[in-house]
């Protein structure tokens, strides 16, 4: 292991690398309307994590989380969009996923995060699993008005 696992402490913040916090430099939006779209999204997210300098484990985490969230929007939300942002803050780079749909929304959010809970035919680990795979995770949903999930993972590899 080269320090890319979850428990590694963040790289010390260095004064010479000050960048405005949460300054978004790159952004792209992808449709979530078919099984093929999920494939394109995984490719786009993989490319973004590579661009942000993520290690292979973090790449896999973010790609998997994006796949889960996009599939939720496709299967339960009737389709939507995934917006991919490269975000920067002191000393580190991150990838932020914003997945939106106009579906029926989630009635009981606590229940939706519970492992094994599903309203469809899936395994029921997608939403909770995606939250565990990312560093920051917010979900807002109004019954009848769709769901927005924002999830960010920071690059926790030490600066070379």
């Amino acid at each position: 292991m080269t320090g890319s696992h979850a428990g590694t402490t963040r790289a010390p913040q260095r004064a010479d690398k000050v960048v405005p916090a949460h300054h978004s430099t790159e952004s792209s939006t992808h449709p979530v309307a078919s099984e093929e779209d999920l494939l394109s999204i995984r490719h786009a997210v993989r490319a973004a994590t590579l661009h942000a300098g993520f290690g292979i484990v973090d790449q896999t985490r973010v790609v998997t989380a994006a796949s889960e969230l996009a599939r939720n929007a496709y299967v339960h939300g009737g389709g939507g969009t995934l917006t991919l942002d490269i975000v920067r803050r002191l000393g580190t780079t991150g990838v932020r996923l914003t997945v939106e749909d106009d579906g029926p929304g989630i009635e009981d959010i606590e229940e939706a995060f519970t492992d094994g809970f599903t309203t469809g035919a899936g395994l029921g680990h997608g939403l909770g699993g995606a939250r565990r795979l990312m560093d920051e995770f917010t979900l807002s949903s109004t019954a009848g008005r769709g769901t927005v999930v924002t999830a960010t993972r920071w690059n926790n590899r030490r600066a070379p």
């Binding site: 696992h5 099984e35 494939l39 995984r42 993989r46 292979i56 484990v57 790449q59 896999t60 985490r61 790609v63 998997t64 796949s67 889960e68 599939r71 492992d115 899936g122 395994l123 680990h125 997608g126 909770g128 699993g129 995606a130 565990r132 795979l133």
Partner: protein, 299 residues
């Protein structure tokens, strides 16, 4: 039959123009073909891979086919489809350009460029403006359809290629290989969606029956992302294999995939898993070597 009636009527009205255009095509065949090739070269209406001699050959064939088609009495508007020679020449022309990398627009424009050439020659053949107009209308009817046909053929050709490739991919990516006595393996490459799972499952279950296999190894080294949907498809396949009385080993679980599966909370503990195909084969051989209930070696 109103449509064919009107077509025949309009054709009989234009029979003079039709004879005139046919005559012009016959009398100036070489000049028309050369000028058309020249126009295509000037307007860059070509893909790569086409030599000038091929172009001349193509142009000669098209001009001759147009004259022959007009000599008959089939409706002008449908000649590009109904005349077999003309249809084949336009189709070949379009496919050749598609392979050469020309766009469909450029290909149909190349066919339409022939209009200009024919009109130039017609102007030399008659000075009667009525006759000229009738002939111009006829040329438009004939070549507009030919241009549309070339576009259609081009798009159909591309679609056929895409269709074939996606089928090939589906077939190619799900082979079942016999690895050892009574041991089969499926090396999965790419993503595992519902359609792929179905193909894998069908192929694998059939092979288990044919080979009387005891162990099936599913190798996921080539699967880049294992999310809950992929895991579910794997679990389904394993269940089906077990229903056939065989055992299933999943191999090729790379470290990042292992971490991700664990964090997602997917429970694969009921399934025999191994890091590499070699480990999986060793485990499989152990299973097939285990003594059977009657004290024999289980074979």
């Amino acid at each position: 039959m109103t449509t064919s009636d009107t077509a025949i009527t309009s054709d009989s009205v234009d029979s003079g123009a039709r004879a005139r255009v046919t005559e012009v095509l016959r009398a100036n065949a070489d000049a028309i073909a050369d000028r058309w090739v020249q126009l295509q070269l000037e307007q860059a209406l070509l893909g790569s891979d086409l030599t000038e001699s091929e172009l001349h050959e193509e142009a000669d064939a098209l001009v001759a086919a147009l004259a022959a088609a007009l000599d008959g009495d089939a409706p002008v508007r449908r000649l590009a489809y109904s005349d077999r020679d003309l249809n084949r020449i336009v189709t070949d022309l379009s496919l050749r350009r598609a392979r050469g990398g020309a766009s469909p627009t450029v290909t149909s424009l190349a066919v339409l460029a022939l209009k200009q050439v024919l009109l130039e020659h017609l102007r030399g053949a008659t000075r009667e403006s009525d006759e000229l107009l009738a002939a111009a209308v006829l040329i438009n009817q004939l070549l507009d359809v030919a241009g549309a046909l070339s576009f259609e053929v081009y798009v159909e050709g591309r679609e056929a290629i895409i269709h074939r490739q996606s089928h090939q991919l589906l077939e190619m990516s799900t082979p079942v290989v016999r690895l050892w006595r009574q041991v089969l393996a499926v090396p999965l490459i790419g993503t595992l969606d519902t359609a792929r799972t179905q193909v894998v499952m069908e192929n694998l279950l059939q092979a288990i029956q044919d080979d009387e296999a005891l162990v099936a190894i599913i190798d996921i080294t080539g699967v880049p992302t294992v999310d809950t949907a992929v895991a579910q498809h794997l679990l389904q396949t394993v269940n089906a294999v077990r229903l056939m009385g065989a055992d299933c080993v999943i191999s090729g679980i790379r470290p990042p995939i292992a971490q991700t599966i664990a964090q997602l909370g997917i429970d694969l503990s009921t399934i025999l898993t191994r890091a590499t195909l070699a480990d999986a084969l060793a485990a499989a051989i152990k299973i097939t070597d285990a003594p059977g209930p009657d004290g024999t070696d289980g074979r």
